[in-house]
């Protein structure tokens, strides 16, 4: 069927693809976002024009409310809170898709088996995305403990829920839409969203957010199948693919399988095995004054930011220190581990906010050879991503994870608030290395003090 709206959806899809294509470089990325937004406008206007009997009053009210909420979020959100924001938006996207499918279910008297199946799939993925995203949001915002929440029989419960869901879904289709079964599907999907997300710890959030991002796209595509709408199917497929790619990159960044992230409950405080592997390490703790002298003698400095930097909101302070060092003729680079922070690219956005040029930010493969002739590696609130145990300790939970080779630098200066272990719950042997120096304190305070000391030298 060729009509005005289907041509508009093709055009919108082309603009989405071109928009994402332009995201391949920071220079063109902003244009890309505009192009995609324009595509969305075309899709919306075409829908409003070409479908008769839609409730304009309801739509306008909804759009105004949504626009106010969305714009407020977009303007107010701190860059450090970007993971929460993306998490909750994923939830709204999934929720919208599930609601559309539910409306279709409630209001159509004759539904084919195929459409009924797609409605069930759309309800399932959409609702799971909604509740899962709200849990992820709660964890990131600190409403819920960032620690994995586990209880005995959790996996069994999930398995039972999954089977019950399949059975209920089958009966909805079999009975051509029996309400009770429909509500069971809805309820189980909502519960699964919660039970699958609560056992996942804070630092595994980049994977969860990427996965939920993918789900929100798949939910939109499933709704596209319900409505037989190419616009939804293509856009949903693009977002689904995007989320999956990011999920895969994040898993590789931790050398873990997706199953291990979802079911592994890594990050839980583990009982010491008592086999004597818990080595006591002796550390050297320096003041910022002493650290300043080391920086003064250095020529090449690599900054390694971690989640601690975001928590301390220290991105501007680090830029000030870096600018001072650069003025003195030193080279400053930033090493960004793929899973640093709480979402893909989190550190890059934070540093960009502090006006740090993106060409100074280097990813793992690019930066690792740079540590060989680096004088000072400054580790700010990162822990597991610089733990050398990942290279050799087969019993370590992070064994095999690609790490930043900071220990190859002449000196490693590590800033942490306390000696607490990182997310993986393990002691970092790096802290005891001969070339390692600890400077304790809040990252922002430490950097500001360091800058003062540097100026006084």
């Amino acid at each position: 069927m060729i009509n005005f709206s289907s041509i508009a959806y093709v055009l919108a899809s082309v603009l989405f693809i071109l928009g994402i294509k332009k995201l391949s470089h920071p220079k063109t990325a902003r244009d890309g976002n505009f192009i995609a937004a324009f595509g969305m406008l075309i899709a919306i206007v075409a829908t409003l024009i070409s479908y008769g009997q839609i409730d304009f009053k309801l739509i306008i009210i909804g759009m105004i409310i949504g626009a106010i909420i969305g714009a407020t979020f977009a303007i107010k959100v701190e860059m450090t809170q970007m993971p929460q924001m993306v998490a909750i938006f994923n939830g709204f996207g999934g929720g919208a898709s599930a609601l559309v499918a539910a409306a279709e279910f409630l209001n159509s008297s004759t539904i084919t088996t195929f459409t009924m199946s797609t409605i069930i799939i759309s309800i399932f993925i959409g609702t799971l995305t909604l509740t899962g995203s709200f849990i992820a949001f709660g964890k990131l915002q600190g409403f819920i403990s960032g620690q994995p929440i586990v209880f005995p029989g959790q996996q069994v419960l999930n398995a039972i829920l999954a089977i019950a869901l399949l059975v209920a879904g089958f009966f909805v289709v079999e009975t051509s839409g029996e309400m009770n079964f429909f509500f069971v599907v809805l309820a189980i999907s909502a519960i699964l969203g919660v039970t699958l997300t609560i056992p996942i710890g804070g630092a595994d959030m980049p994977v969860v957010i990427s996965l939920l991002n993918s789900y929100s796209g798949i939910a939109a595509a499933a709704t596209g199948f319900v409505l037989m709408n190419n616009g939804l199917i293509i856009s949903g497929a693009l977002v689904g693919a995007s989320g999956l790619i990011l999920t895969n990159i994040m898993c590789k960044g931790m050398n873990r399988s997706l199953a291990n992230v979802i079911f592994g409950a890594v990050g839980l405080e583990q009982e010491s095995s008592g086999s004597g592997t818990e080595k006591q390490i002796s550390i050297k703790s320096y003041s910022t004054e002493e650290a300043a002298m080391i920086f003064d003698a250095a020529e090449k400095v690599i900054v390694v930011p971690g989640y601690g930097l975001a928590v301390a909101q220290a991105q501007h302070a680090v830029r000030e220190v870096a600018e001072f060092l650069e003025k003195k003729g030193k080279t400053v680079l930033y090493a960004i581990h793929p899973v640093a922070g709480r979402m893909p690219g989190h550190m890059n956005v934070l540093l960009a906010e502090a006006n740090i040029p993106y060409d100074q930010l280097k990813d793992l493969e690019e930066v690792n050879p740079e540590f060989e002739d680096c004088d000072v590696a400054l580790v700010l609130g990162a822990n597991d991503v610089v733990n050398p145990a990942a290279r050799h300790d087969t019993s370590s939970p992070i064994y095999g994870m690609p790490i930043l080779d900071v220990d190859k630098s002449r000196t490693v200066i590590i800033n942490k608030r306390t000696m607490n272990t990182g997310f993986a719950g393990i002691q970092n042997e790096l802290f005891g290395f001969d070339n390692s120096i600890m400077v304790f304190g809040d990252a922002k305070d430490m950097l500001q003090q360091l800058l003062k000391d540097l100026k006084e030298l």
Partner: protein, 89 residues
């Protein structure tokens, strides 16, 4: 079921994989928020669902319109806010 629609879906996934692997890690957060906005395409479905008669259905449609609009407006705006910050030396 219409096989064409499945063809479109599968080809779109392949296109997605091709273009998204070219996005550099630096832009992964804007990619996410931007693709989030694109998944707000559910707004099209939300608009259509308000036409279906029946009170419950149109209220579900209203909530769907709200959710999807949050996604679209918030997603594109915050992506633009982030991308504005990326500067070269």
């Amino acid at each position: 079921m219409d096989i064409n629609i499945l063809t479109v879906f599968i080809l779109a996934i392949f296109v997605g994989f091709e273009i998204i692997t070219k996005v550099p890690p630096t832009l992964h957060t804007p990619l996410m928020s931007g693709s989030n906005a694109i998944s707000g395409i559910a707004i099209v479905g939300a608009i259509i669902s308000t036409k279906i008669s029946g009170e419950v259905g149109s209220y579900l449609g209203l909530i769907a319109v709200i959710f999807a609009t949050i996604n679209v407006i918030g997603g594109f705006m915050v992506t633009d806010r982030m991308l504005k910050m990326f500067k070269r030396k």
